[in-house]
Symmetry: C2
Subunit: 439 residues, 2 copies
């Protein structure tokens, strides 16, 4: 039986997860795959040696030993970040190796260059683990939904942000406190910017858009807003109106232009995305044939991500064995059919809005605010103004009917400059989605 | 470019859905697949001719014309039922055709014979559409989760039953009334037995178990209980305790033996499966590497099922083009590694229970019932006994701690034979599942 040899660059959390998956599942994989998959060498320059359980695997501090090894078929890059990951991947491709990576930052920003190099060299790039951890969301889009025009992509794509919002919801604790707790538990990084500012989510949205629409979106085109300004009071008001606040990635396909945005969103409490708690992710697609579909699971973590990387390794091992390399194009569409698409300007967005103004507790406040909204064609659906009689500023909460982002921005700029408003208005977009069964 | 020709047997709901999917998506598929997929002939003996929009497709009343056509590569069987579907499929295999089917009754009961014939002939069998309509659940299990030991399978696998339970929940209407409404709306068949008695769900569970565990389960081994005895009062009590009643398929993998059961289940209201409404399906797997994962979508219907059949056709077309037939074994495990497994006797099951006894409203009733439960080692967690003072029999509702099915059956047999009990006890098993994030 043919043997496929794997070289692993990066023995951190996910790298050690992959090594463990391949070791634990070896007997099971042998029963499923008509080839032997063997982890030959692991490279990590921060390590002196591998743990004893991996003493049948070679070790080097130098990644280029793996890239130069003529026996190795598949190079797995799990060091993360742009460099030196990018250089290693391009060198591996040039050396005729197939590549598997979980590197969402790299694939979302330099995917085009990497895929072009791979196509030229006739090798495969597996990147299932770059989106959704162990959830086979890329395979579902590329293969399971192959016969669909994808009408929209929505999702909770960052477990850390979801965990924080959830804790804020369950315990009515401010963002900063929950973040500290999440960091202590290992659910958030020391520098949580990528997670809480929506950047990590945008990386994943970009990858999914490229696959779903056959395009090459630039990260700079995605409108990104994080969760740091969300207050427990917003979460409480959301509940009162029947919503949960989630950090969503949203892209609707309007044909010649497509939306691309990441922001905190009020999700109706009976929507499937509202029920996703803790560090879980949910990927919610609408296809013109299949209707609504969701994939749910752990979007990060050692073993789940290791599971996805291993699935890519198996996929490529099968293609090597069967001489069917590039049986499925990297981005679903064949490279010559990738076409640029215009991104819908965020100012053109139309949706209902939640506003929380902070205003002094005086008569005439609501009249001033509603006057400005009316002037900008923003219709109020409901208002909550509580705690009258207090000395300090009080929240004025307004839910609107569908309005245009451009008008909303203009109105809020004017409202926030009123002397009666003592803090910037918090604005949260409200999700409108039909989940009804279609036959 | 190579052309792959498809013959379709059966132009009913799903058959016409497939024809439409292939027509509507032709240009998109041409951009994704490096081969042309063309529907050459449709066979249906109930039809005089095809609708005009398909006038570029051949028509015959005789399925065997398709099977005998040397140009046709893939035969799609969408007539459903056991015969003549089985004969057509075996004849197509013998003629060297690859086969795609959505026939869950056939695959769950005669899969072994069909897969063996296909392996012998060196052809592929695609059956994604037999489980979960448009949801790519089989591909996820076989490929995305390839590097996992599947620890459990749980799911809402029948949209009709879920729709009925949902309507009963939302409107407090009895089963029979909702069924009539569902039949009028086309959500339930004239003969709803397969859907409401859990048989359709058991077919799908059998297929998933065979893939997940590499076995060949007999339908007769699955313990099946339908939803016809569920009353709106049970749904109301479930809500009071924080549960939703769902028709679940459940299989837990205990290694040398595996559970296989379909029954109404009390699902904690914060569990992902509790939130699945209408005709939607949810497939909830736990893998030893990936943790919990769920796939959600429309489990039936013309276009969703057509989407899944088309995905199988594309998969096989790619394998024909790349000479990579049987790149992935039909049941995930290679045929020689399929091994029989013992099914856990339902009497060995341990879980908490909900009981609704119907008893005359007299003193001593609760004492008699609880005495029998205690004698059988069944501990009561809580009791609701309402409407005291009425003349008629009243419900006595009991939630238990974990108990053994064997003891429960013995206890209920004794309780139901008490003169004070005027109707058979309704028994609903309660789901215990940890959904917590694992890192």
């Amino acid at each position: 039986m043919k043997e496929i040899l794997v070289g692993l660059i990066g023995f951190g959390t996910v790298g050690s997860g992959l090594a463990e998956v391949l070791q634990v599942q070896a007997a099971r994989l042998a029963k499923k795959v008509d080839t032997v998959i063997r982890l030959k060498t692991i490279a990590d320059n921060r390590l002196a040696a591998l743990p004893e359980r991996f003493n049948d695997v070679g070790f080097t501090k130098n990644a280029r030993e793996i890239i130069a090894d003529p026996q190795i078929n598949i190079v797995v890059e799990l060091i993360g970040g742009i460099e030196p990951a990018k250089t290693f991947i391009l060198e591996a491709i040039a050396a005729g190796k197939h590549v598997v990576t979980a590197n969402k930052a790299l694939i979302s920003q330099h995917g085009a260059e990497i895929f072009a190099a791979a196509a030229k060299a006739g090798v495969e790039i597996g990147f299932e683990a770059s989106v959704g951890g162990g959830v086979p969301v890329i395979k579902a889009l590329k293969e399971g939904l192959v016969a669909n025009r994808i009408l929209s992509i929505m999702g909770i794509m960052n477990g850390t942000a979801n965990f924080i919002l959830n804790q804020m919801t369950d315990h009515q604790v401010p963002f900063s406190e929950v973040l500290k707790d999440a960091q202590a538990k290992g659910y958030a990084e020391a520098d949580p910017t990528y997670d809480v500012e929506g950047i990590d989510t945008a990386h994943k949205l970009a990858i999914l858009m490229n696959i779903a629409y056959g395009m090459n979106v630039s990260l700079a085109d995605i409108s990104i807003e994080g969760i740091t300004r969300i207050d427990p009071v917003d979460i409480a008001f959301a509940r009162e109106f029947g919503y949960r606040i989630k950090l969503l990635a949203i892209s609707r396909n309007h044909g010649e232009h497509v939306e691309a945005r990441v922001h905190p969103t009020m999700v109706p409490e009976n929507h499937m995305l509202a029920g996703i708690s803790g560090v879980y992710n949910g990927f919610y697609f609408t296809g013109d044939m299949v209707g609504n579909i969701m994939l749910y699971g752990l979007g990060a973590g050692k073993m789940p991500t290791g599971s996805a990387v291993a699935a890519d390794v198996v996929d490529i091992a099968r293609n090597i064995t069967h001489n069917s390399i590039n049986r499925v194009p990297s981005l679903s569409f064949r490279p010559e059919h990738l076409t640029p698409r215009r991104i819908t300007p965020i100012e053109d967005l139309r949706c209902p809005y939640y506003f929380r103004m902070t205003a002094v507790d005086k008569p005439g406040v609501l009249s001033a605010i509603s006057g400005i909204l009316g002037k900008n064609n923003i219709s109020i659906e409901s208002v909550i103004q509580k705690s009258r009689g207090q000395k300090d500023a009080v929240p004025v909460v307004i839910m609107t009917y569908e309005a245009e982002e451009r008008s909303v921005r203009a109105a809020l700029a004017e409202i926030d400059s009123l002397p009666i408003c003592t803090d910037k208005t918090v604005k949260i977009r409200i999700l409108v989605d039909k989940q009804d069964g279609v036959k």
